[in-house]
Amino acid sequence: MAVTSITEQSGRTVIALSGEIDMEEAPTVRRTLLDCLKQKRDILVDLSQVTYIDSSGIASLIEGLQTARKQKNDLALVSVSQRARRVLELARLDKVFTLHDDLATALAVTKS
């Protein structure tokens, strides 16, 4: 499964993704992100276990980011795997998303 866990930590929703996020899995990721955003909390997406992600997966993350920003929430990426980072860089989105090295760092950031 692409979405392995959804937890609540320090007022944020932490969504852990894993495996291969391609056209088959992207709709699930998108749905999960949009559903969680209804709670009006900031979201942290853990990409540490993602072994493959393509433009479809990236598109769901972008849609999640756009929806979050519209409702004054944030969507940040945490523990981005080497593979996911490569694809984000290729897409020149590594500067668009907020990237945190690990969950602890992400949770330590004071909400703006």
Partner: protein
């Protein structure tokens, strides 16, 4: 008045004493006149002109029965008033009576005869006194009548006049009948020419069997100019061969038109629809929509891959294919799906077989029902005859079957069509092909090919194979993952943009190159816009698309290869080692 003979041409049937000389000569001169003019009306007018002159009458007319034999229509008229076109119901008037009784009518005082049709006189101002009217007949077949009015000398018509008119009428009837027959012959010849043209067009619907090294070959011998049988085969861009054989119920032009339609539909659909059962369903619905008079089509269509020997086919009510394995008993492969054109909802199944060097033989029942006396050839007979030219190319073997049947005096009442695939020949060809590939150091090394449905769920199944290939080509882990990304994006592009999320097939071929890896990704989506058949830039596929950007960023080369048939797209992706 001078002698009528001096005014007549050489063919004058009347001698100096007013007696006719040769009525046959009169008929012959009329026939000559028709031969020159090809115009029945002109011939009729000329006949009447001569009759009026010979009998020295004030007026005359020739009436011919119309096609339905209901009315007598005036086709020529001579005298002060033109009554050409006048229609008299069959049986009425003096003319009608002459025709109905097939007897000459002599009327001395027209107004005293109740049958006389005085309306014409009232309309025209002509005064009819006496009438002589002779039926025109050939054998017992009355085609009309010739009528003359009022002798110029005011006397009644005498016996000599009657004889003269009777003979002239018979001669004219013969000439007109000949002219009509000639007319029909011309029409028949025209139809014949059209049938020959149709036959020519039909022959051109069949493939040209000019490649003796081809593993597939067909043969069609119609017993009439046009045929209700057909077969076809053509190579698809990936080397697969699409084939079909069919037999339309019935014979003649109707059957041949339905044959042309079915063959054309197959040619068209066979290039994009890669599932034989689905192709049959589409064909069936299409034929059901337009077919009439209870006609139907039995057909087998399929796909044969000469590279692997794998064959898929669907059978719509046709004779079962014959599978001939070397050193084994031949077997028939039956199926029970109905013919095309009967029920729109009919279901068809795709059968699969690995030929593995075998021969796959299809025929129409014109072959199996070939007769020698009471005996039918049957499938067993065909099976034996194919080995007449054992070891020869498949085309020669099929010809040998037909020659053998004809030499033995077998008779067919039906068109004869054969289509055969010889997988052993394909195997030889591919061996040669592989050798020539190895001989060239620059050429790539074909690692594997995959064919799969255009479905996102297949992506995760394919990635491991590509990953293994990239690793085998010597790419490091990052490069390998980049190749995977590019391949995935290309396939997703096809699913979304070429097939628009509908069903479709994708073929992937992976080649090792001396300095890297080449992926060829093929779709079979129909190209609606002819401009799109041209090789395109990658950007055109998905303007500004992220996936396209990824492909360009991670691969060294990405380009569309033009396809000869213009069906679908072939994308070539190359990644070179640093």
């Amino acid at each position: 008045m001078s002698s009528p003979a001096s005014q007549q041409p050489a063919a004058a049937p009347v001698g100096p004493a007013g007696t006719w000389t040769d009525p046959l000569e009169f008929a012959a001169s009329l026939s000559r006149s028709f031969a020159e003019t090809q115009d029945i009306n002109a011939t009729v007018r000329e006949a009447l002109g001569q009759i009026v002159k010979l009998l020295q009458v004030e007026a005359g007319a020739i009436f011919l029965l119309d096609e339905l034999q209901d009315n007598l229509i005036c086709r020529a008229s001579a005298g002060p008033v033109d009554v050409t076109g006048l229609s008299v119901p069959h049986g009425s008037g003096i003319v009608g009576r002459a025709v109905a009784e097939d007897k000459i009518q002599v009327v001395e005082h027209a107004y005293q005869d109740q049958a006389f049709f005085a309306e014409a006189d009232r309309k025209t101002g002509f005064v009819t006194r006496s009438i002589l009217c002779a039926p025109m007949s050939v054998g017992h077949n009355v085609i009309g009548a010739v009528e003359v009015l009022n002798k110029q000398n005011g006397k009644p018509f005498n016996a000599e006049d009657q004889n003269l008119l009777r003979v002239m009428a018979a001669s004219s009837a013969l000439a007109i009948s000949n002219a009509r027959m000639a007319d029909r012959l011309v029409a028949q010849e025209r139809l014949q020419r059209e049938v020959e043209l149709a036959s020519d067009i039909q022959r051109h619907l069949l493939p040209t069997e000019d490649d003796e090294s081809s593993p597939i070959c067909g043969l069609l011998r119609p017993i009439q100019e046009v045929s209700g049988d057909f077969y076809d085969h053509f190579e698809l861009p990936d080397g697969t061969i699409a084939f079909a054989i069919g037999d339309v119920s019935g014979k003649g032009l109707n059957a041949s038109l339905l044959m042309a339609k079915t063959a054309s539909l197959f040619r068209c659909l066979g290039k994009t629809v890669r599932d034989p059962a689905r192709l049959m369903s589409i064909l069936n619905r299409e034929i059901c929509e337009t077919v009439s008079h209870g006609m139907f089509v039995t057909m087998i269509s399929g796909l044969y891959d000469p590279a692997t020997g794998h064959l898929r086919f669907a059978n719509a009510g046709h004779l079962p294919p014959l599978l001939r394995r070397p050193n084994q008993r031949s077997i028939e492969m039956p199926a029970d799906s109905p013919p095309l054109g009967i029920l729109p909802a009919s279901k068809y199944d795709t059968e699969e077989v690995d030929l593995d060097g075998a021969q796959f033989v299809l025929c129409t029942d014109g072959v199996t029902e070939f007769r020698f006396g009471e005996e039918e050839l049957g499938t067993e007979g065909l099976d034996m005859l194919i080995d007449t030219a054992r070891g020869k190319p498949i085309a020669q073997r099929l010809n040998a079957v037909v020659e053998e049947l004809q030499r033995a005096g077998w008779r067919s009442r039906d068109d004869l069509t054969l289509l055969a695939i010889d997988d052993a020949m394909a195997a030889r060809r591919w061996e040669q092909h592989a050798e020539s590939e190895r001989a060239s150091p620059e050429s790539s090394d074909f690692l594997f090919g995959l064919s799969f449905p255009a479905d996102p769920k297949r992506l995760r199944l394919i990635r491991p194979a590509i990953r293994a290939a990239a690793e085998a080509c010597g790419f490091d882990q990052n490069e390998t993952e980049d190749v995977l990304l590019a391949a995935g994006e290309a396939i997703e592009n096809i699913i979304v943009h070429a097939y628009e999320n509908r069903r479709g097939e994708i073929a992937l071929a992976v080649h090792r190159m001396p300095d890297g890896l080449m992926l060829r990704i093929r779709d079979f989506a129909p190209n609606v816009d002819p401009a799109k058949i041209q090789p395109r830039k990658l950007e055109d596929v998905r303007p500004g698309g992220l996936g396209t950007h990824f492909i360009r960023a991670v691969m060294d080369d990405a380009s569309f290869i033009p396809l000869p048939d213009g069906e679908g797209n072939l994308l070539e992706l190359v990644k070179r080692k640093r």
